[in-house]
Amino acid sequence: MREETRREAVWQFLTYAFIILGAVVTLVPLYWIFVASTLKESEFLSSTDPTLVPGDSFLSNFAALRARDNVQFVGHVGEMTHYIDLGPIYIAYDFWNLWNMGAIESSIFVAGVYTILSLLLCSMAGFAFAKYEFRFKQPIFYAILATLILPIQLLVIPLFLLMSQIGLTNSYWAIILPWLANPLGIFLMRQNMRSIPDALLESARMDGATEFQLYYKIALPTMKSSLAALSIILFLFQWNLFLFPLVILDQGKYTIPVAINQLVGAQRVYYDQIMVAATLSIIPIFVLFLFLQKQFVSGILAGSVKE
């Protein structure tokens, strides 16, 4: 019996050691991103004696990053090009130019707009597939289903030509439109919306609800948790897109991945500035993750259930 309890203790110790080691290895790169962003480059890039505690150079690194002319990482107040001159008072205005977006704002804007529009499209299509009968429903659904197995972010060559043709190169629409009708999103919405009882829709119809009201007053509210999970999938998909934005966007419209690529590929690589950029792009999503952990997890699991 004593032998057994001792073994149990050793086992528990080993399990804890393994988990804690994993947690440390996970946290070190994250800690290092943050620490390096607060130090001067010479203080952390040293094989003999790197500093491992945060310093106070974050703001000066940040200022240096903002001063770069090849990459606009964080936005700045736009130049006021229009004026109303009233003698003693003059008002500068240019509503489209109040804030020049940098890479961070671009990424948040693009991922946000993409998520909202795609949720709308996918849920509408899912609703149609789940709750309506129409001709060619099955063939259309299976055609969409079949594209689930394709790596859709690799179809960049025709997309590039298409965007050049319709004049959308260097436009945010070029990286929003192609993935709006997300096959996984349509599929997930269709699966979940099948659980809405027909009788519920039917009785609402009898109360005089229009078909569109059925969608946004009954279907959408009952799908809240699925929509939350799907929005995480969609947001992260767009947030991490690199290849196509790299191809299609020019300076001034860069998203975070393209901007960081520009910093890394520059003639002289400034690691302190890059780490400021990495901190600014990683920390906000970490905070989001901590608050919305349940939704992240169900998003991951929803994406993994494709049967």
Binding site: P50, L162, Q165, L236, F242, I300
Partner: protein, 337 residues
């Protein structure tokens, strides 16, 4: 309302009762106009799907039999009404080359190198990551572990890291004078040329990808573990099985479908590897030893502008990925039955 009634041809109460009656025997009476409503809801998604997904799928295949000569300029359609004019041009200027884009791959050494690199990373990284994810999942599932939620959160944190942003810290840590070599040399080990030797630069990619995705797979495996019936463990205990035997004879077989799913999605993920080698190895350095397939496609298409050949390469990649996806879908189907 009038039209609805005239369509059904009887008074509403009779119609409603008829509808409920039919529904109660499991038959759905179509609402007037329902056939069109479905299309209306589907239309926006369907249009975008057609233009930006179905068309590229077909057109990539078409392009793979041509040499790209330049952006199209041939007029296909010209509408000119005086105040409004619209000119639709062909999408690209192409010349037919038959199968030569495909046959060229056999003698393209850089393509072979990219295939080799991707396969190397795949063979080392996927088993390593799945094993780690499984061990973390099983460890966190153990009943005696305190602070389980905290550990799970910490291990899953990398899931939220931007793919390009996180790559930069590996670029930094793996420098000759970086943090990892500092740790190695301070415990008396030799420094490792993480970014300058062809073997170690691939291992750097392996390390980075493992760091980013282990937590993701752990979450999927943890969910799988919840579905393993507890009675199986109890039965095994009665039969005198120890921990390791329970792991081998209960956990692994019960998790088989989830494990295979994780294996297949990770394999697909490795074939799509792009951000990490671009950022960490600056486009395949040293000496193309880390260039991946997607990276090679990118270079061929958008630096050399050989769009036809790049399309053929894309289709080879799509074929590989589709085979793995089909395996994965099959597994999902089997586990359901």
């Amino acid at each position: 309302m009038a039209t609805r009634d005239s369509l059904s041809g009887s008074d509403p109460s009779v119609r409603d009762r008829l509808r409920f009656a039919r529904q109660s025997v499991g038959e759905r009476l179509p609402t007037p106009g329902e056939g069109i409503v479905g299309y209306v809801f589907l239309l926006p998604a369907f249009l975008l799907f057609g233009i930006f997904l179905a068309f590229p799928i077909v057109y990539t295949f078409y392009l793979s039999f041509f040499r790209f000569e330049g952006v199209g300029d041939e007029t296909l359609l010209w509408i000119d009404t005086g105040f409004f004019s619209y000119r639709l041009t062909s999408i690209a200027d192409l010349s037919f080359v038959g199968l030569s884009n495909y046959t060229r791959m056999f003698s393209d050494t850089l393509f072979h190198q990219a295939m080799f690199n991707t396969t190397f990373i795949l063979v080392v990284q996927v088993p390593l990551m799945v094993a780690l994810a499984l061990l973390f999942a099983v460890a966190l599932d153990a009943s005696f572990v305190k602070l389980r939620g905290v550990f799970r959160t910490v291990l899953a944190l990398p899931v939220s890291a931007n793919l390009v942003a996180y790559s930069t810290v590996f670029l930094l840590m793996m420098q000759d004078a970086g943090l990892i070599n500092y740790v190695l040399t301070s415990v008396g080990l030799p420094a490792i040329p993480w970014l300058t030797s062809s073997f170690w630069s691939r291992m750097t990619i392996v390390g980075a990808v493992t760091w980013r995705w282990t937590g993701y797979n752990m979450i999927i495996l943890l969910a799988g573990l919840q579905n393993v019936p507890k009675q199986l463990y109890e039965a095994a205990e009665i039969d005198g099985a120890n921990r390791i035997e329970k792991f081998w004879y209960v956990t692994i077989p019960q998790l088989r479908p989830v494990l295979l799913f994780v294996f297949v999605t990770s394999t697909i993920g490795t074939f799509k590897l792009f951000s990490e080698p671009v950022i960490i190895n600056g486009g395949g350095a040293p000496l193309d030893s880390t260039i991946t397939i997607v990276q090679y496609i990118y270079q061929t298409a958008f630096i050399d502008f050989r769009l036809g050949y790049a399309s053929a390469l894309t289709y080879v990649l799509i074929a590989i990925v589709s085979v793995f996806s089909a395996i994965q879908l099959n597994i999902g189907g089997e586990s359901d039955a």
